[in-house]
């Protein structure tokens, strides 16, 4: 069984089919329910986490493929919600129902990490994999622009 770190903690998982998607290991075995299920087929982004710093859809990553990797979930993005993306999100009252937002935040954090000055088109293309059925898109865009600015300072 793979050894990996989740939010900085080394984790050794036993009794698991290595094909089990990371999403369900997080949610059902480790009770890290901040990572959400929305589609199970890498279509909606609700399950987005970071694997070695890259945004990945945890519903489509088998746990067996994560040997030695570092996984960060929303619970580990910052100790207290103080990541620039989380702060911008709160400041702009982005969430409506809130369900997609942890995945949106994880995607946005990865976007800013890889592209410190994203423009509208970069945001459209990077965030296109994250569905928000409540339609918080305009605020997500504004919050990303503001978080990117804050992160650059």
């Amino acid at each position: 069984m793979p050894k990996l770190t989740i939010n900085g903690e080394p984790v050794e998982l036993t009794d698991l089919d290595p094909r089990t998607p990371l999403l369900w290991v997080l949610r059902d075995s480790l009770n890290l329910t901040g990572t959400k299920f929305g589609c199970g087929i890498a279509q909606c982004g609700a399950c987005t986490v970071h694997v070695n710093g890259t945004a990945m859809r945890s519903c489509s990553v088998a746990i067996g493929s994560l040997e030695g990797r570092e996984v960060t979930t929303i619970e580990g993005l910052s100790p207290d919600g103080s990541h620039p993306v989380q702060k911008a999100w709160a400041q702009m009252n982005v969430p409506q129902c809130g369900y997609c937002q942890t995945g949106q935040i994880m995607s946005a954090a990865a976007l800013i990490a890889s592209n410190p000055e994203p423009d509208d088109d970069a945001i459209d293309s990077f965030m296109g994999g994250n569905i928000c059925r409540c339609g918080t898109y305009p605020r997500i865009r504004a919050a990303i622009l503001s978080a990117a600015q804050e992160a650059r300072q």
Partner: protein, 762 residues
């Protein structure tokens, strides 16, 4: 009940909580402002909190707890109604905690649906807060030996201006507990200028939890020792299970059991659909186990349902005479008198739509059984819009009394009407009884798309004869759709006055010769209601058709629309069966002036009338729904290959009194994206009775790149009675977009989704 008023009796906190939990001691039948004052549960005991009514308590430390009884699915209502209580109470919002109510008839209606939470409960909340404030002021007056009229609550303290004294709410609790409740007539309310929270953009209470992943939805609810379940349901509605081979499923690692849930009896209503449940120690194992099931399903009356053939039948029905709902003048004679060349016809069509809330239906239930395996109690935690319906359905499924079913309400990852139907809560309850363990049921996205309570499919036929200026001399409109009531009454094929009142019988134009009709259509899937319900197809027709007539006459669509709306007036609906969302037309008239005002304002904001190059265009639509008024202008950009983007949308809402302008704005933004989803992409189809779509790759919804890039919203500042907000922005979006496409390209889209139409131009 008035005489059994026991507000002054000592109330124990434990007693209060216990009664909340057990659903016992139901005192208030219908929750009105008056009954709010009476709904106190008094018991002997040692606790010390002040519980002036059902909705709040204050403990001696000054901590205020407000009960929030509507479901939070993204509108902010869980925060907004308590703001009203806190405001009238003069509480410090920072010292307020909320308690989410269980499903319990004591709270009155809890079905968070129909955009009515504020309309139905603003007054109740105001009274609850004002009553408590009055008692605190009286308590201070007694302590100081002064006239209560000289004591004023301000920010968690009561002040006596003449002597400069003040005393905290917490210190007043002991005395306040001994006072008689004020009568409704003795209450005073704040003036708009005195409001502290109402009208302010107060952040929702769940904000911090939502950005850190701590917010708990139905899918996140966990009980010690719970099993995770998914259910295989019949691909065709009503097909019985013929055979089950679960050998391979049981061999999947983690699978604990496979059980058959019986099918529903009679008409489906909110009953579980039935099917084969796989229970496992994780959701994933349950899903894997379900894949390994070999199932055979029998025949159903719905086997022959083919959505393409059905569409043709519905359109044909919409072109035949139907049932009349509203008439003016003599439409037949006016058509007779018109030249053939002056008659314009259009057929609009909206397919079945799925709700596809980001969190699919999910709930956990924990049933206690006696030694014979008979259920004696059930407690559930569910993402439900309608906890009382969940309580009723679980009680019916398990054969329990209502009092023995507790439904706790989690946050909802969207609802849009789907989560008003508690079939999934009853599935969890049935499985928990059978396994004697807590069971968590998750619907996968495939389940959600294939077994929804769909937004109904509709065909609307429009026909007008026009004069030389293009104004209608005769107007016929006819709506055909399988009705919502087919879900509750077997074989129901006729629409109700309720559905037709959603933007159809109330067509607000000046139409001297008018006929409004409906036609019948049978349902072959479960029909439900989705954000803005029948307004979706009615607004598409009623707001697109004037644009067609304007263009035909070579007139500006906005000016034409304003002329068609006519004088400012209250729409005359005398003699029309018009439920008006359960409100009288005296309290909530259809005010054409308000509709015109939002339309005029939105046209100004959008700079209506400016020249745009071919391929770009503006479209306008206005619509009253849920007793509120909304107008939208959509700007569209269609390239020569037909690729469409929406650079900007402008919207104006008049919903009367607004509690939380930031959340209202968010609803306007959200309604725009929701409208974009259904206008651009939404379509559920069926072949041989089975739904063809299954997930977001084939049931597309708007993403960031195809949603409007910029949205400018304005809210009319008003002290009028509150109307609905959550749904009101949805109906005008699709017609405004279709009107914009016509302006940009000359192509008229009458059938949704727009993605099915070739928009190329040269």
């Amino acid at each position: 009940m008035g005489s059994s008023l026991n507000i002054g009796a000592p109330v124990t906190r434990r007693g209060f909580l216990a009664s909340l939990a057990a659903g016992s001691l139901v005192l208030a039948a219908r929750v009105s402002p008056a009954s709010t004052l009476l709904a106190v549960v008094g018991q002997d005991g040692s606790d010390t909190a002040f519980e002036p009514n059902l909705w709040l308590s204050i403990d001696p430390s000054g901590a205020v707890t407000i009960v929030t009884h509507r479901s939070e699915m993204g509108t902010g209502i869980r925060t907004s109604l308590p703001m009203v209580v806190a405001d009238e109470l003069e509480a410090d919002w920072a010292r307020v905690t909320l308690r989410q109510a269980i499903g319990d008839a004591r709270y009155g209606d809890q079905n968070t649906d129909g955009s009515r939470s504020v309309r139905q409960f603003y007054e109740v909340m105001r009274v609850a807060g004002a009553a408590a404030r009055t008692l605190l002021e009286r308590a201070a007056a007694e302590i100081w030996g002064v006239d209560a009229a000289e004591c004023k609550a301000r920010l968690h303290e009561v002040h006596h201006a003449a002597t400069g004294r003040s005393i905290g709410f917490g210190e007043l609790v002991a005395r306040a507990r001994t006072l008689e409740a004020p009568a409704e007539g003795e209450l005073t309310f704040k003036t708009p200028a005195e409001r502290r929270y109402v009208g302010q953009p107060v952040p929702i209470v769940d904000l911090a939890d939502m950005v850190t992943g701590r917010a708990t939805f139905g899918i996140d609810a966990r009980r010690e020792g719970q099993l995770f379940a998914v259910v295989a349901r019949s691909p065709v509605l009503g097909a019985p299970l013929k055979s089950v081979d679960d050998t391979a499923a049981r061999e999947v690692a983690g699978v604990v059991d496979v059980l058959t849930i019986p099918g529903y009896e009679g008409v489906h209503g909110f009953q579980p659909l039935g099917g084969v449940a796989v229970l496992a120690n994780s959701t994933w194992a349950a899903i894997a186990g379900r894949k390994a099931l070999k199932l055979e399903w029998g025949e159903s009356d719905n086997d022959s349902y083919d959505s393409e053939a059905f569409e043709r039948e519905m359109v044909a029905t919409s072109r035949r005479a139907g049932t009349s709902w509203r008439t003016a003048g003599d439409t037949a004679a006016a058509f007779e008198a018109a030249d053939e060349g002056s008659v314009h016809e259009a057929d609009y069509y909206v397919p079945l739509l799925a709700h596809a809330s980001m969190e699919p239906p999910a709930a956990v239930a924990e049933v206690t059984v006696d030694e014979d395996g008979k259920a004696i109690r059930c407690e559930a935690w569910a993402a439900t819009q309608n906890p009382q319906a969940a309580q009723e359905q679980v009680a019916a499924t398990l054969g329990l009394e209502l009092a023995d079913v507790i439904v706790n309400v989690t946050l909802l990852g969207g609802g849009f009407g789907r989560k008003s139907k508690p079939d999934y809560v009853a599935e969890a309850a049935w499985l928990s009884r059978a396994t004697r363990r807590p069971v968590h049921v998750t619907w996968t996205r495939e389940d959600d798309i294939r077994h929804d309570y769909y937004h109904t499919v509709a065909a609307v036929h429009m026909r007008a004869a026009v004069d030389e200026r293009g104004m209608p001399t005769a107007w016929l409109q006819r709506s055909v759709f399988p009705p919502i009531f087919s879900t509750f009454a077997p074989g129901m094929t006729s629409p109700s006055d309720f559905e037709l009142a959603l933007g159809f019988t109330d067509v607000p134009y000046v139409l001297p010769n008018l006929t409004v009709e409906s036609g019948d259509a049978p349902a072959h899937v479960r029909i439900g209601w989705l954000r803005s319900v029948a307004h979706i197809y009615h607004a598409l027709a009623v707001c697109s058709f004037p644009d067609e007539l304007a263009r035909r006459a070579g007139r500006d669509p906005y000016e034409y629309l304003m002329e068609l709306l006519g004088e400012d007036r209250l729409l005359d609906l005398e003699g029309v069966q018009y439920p008006n969302q359960g409100e009288s037309l005296e309290r909530y008239p259809f005010d054409v002036g308000r509709l015109k005002a939002v339309t005029k304002r939105v046209a100004q904001m959008a700079g209506w009338g400016r020249e745009l190059p071919k391929g770009k265009g503006l479209g306008i639509a206005c619509h009253r729904s849920f007793l509120s008024y909304y107008a939208t202008v959509v700007e569209v950009d269609v390239d020569r290959r037909g690729a469409l983007t929406i650079p900007k949308v402008w919207s104006v809402l008049d919903a009367g009194l607004i509690l939380n302008p930031d959340r209202v704005r968010a609803q306007m933004e959200g309604a725009t994206a929701f409208g974009a989803s259904l206008a651009l992409h939404g379509e559920i189809t069926a072949v041989d009775g089975a739904i063809q779509q299954s997930n977001f790759h084939d049931y597309k919804v708007a993403r960031m790149y195809d949603s409007p890039r910029a949205i400018e919203c304005e809210i009319v500042s008003s002290e009028a009675l509150p109307g609905g907000v959550g749904e009101t922005g949805v109906p005008p979006f699709a017609p405004a977009l279709c009107n914009a496409i016509a302006a940009a390209t000359g192509v008229r889209v009458r059938r949704l989704p727009i993605s099915k139409t070739d928009l190329r131009w040269s």
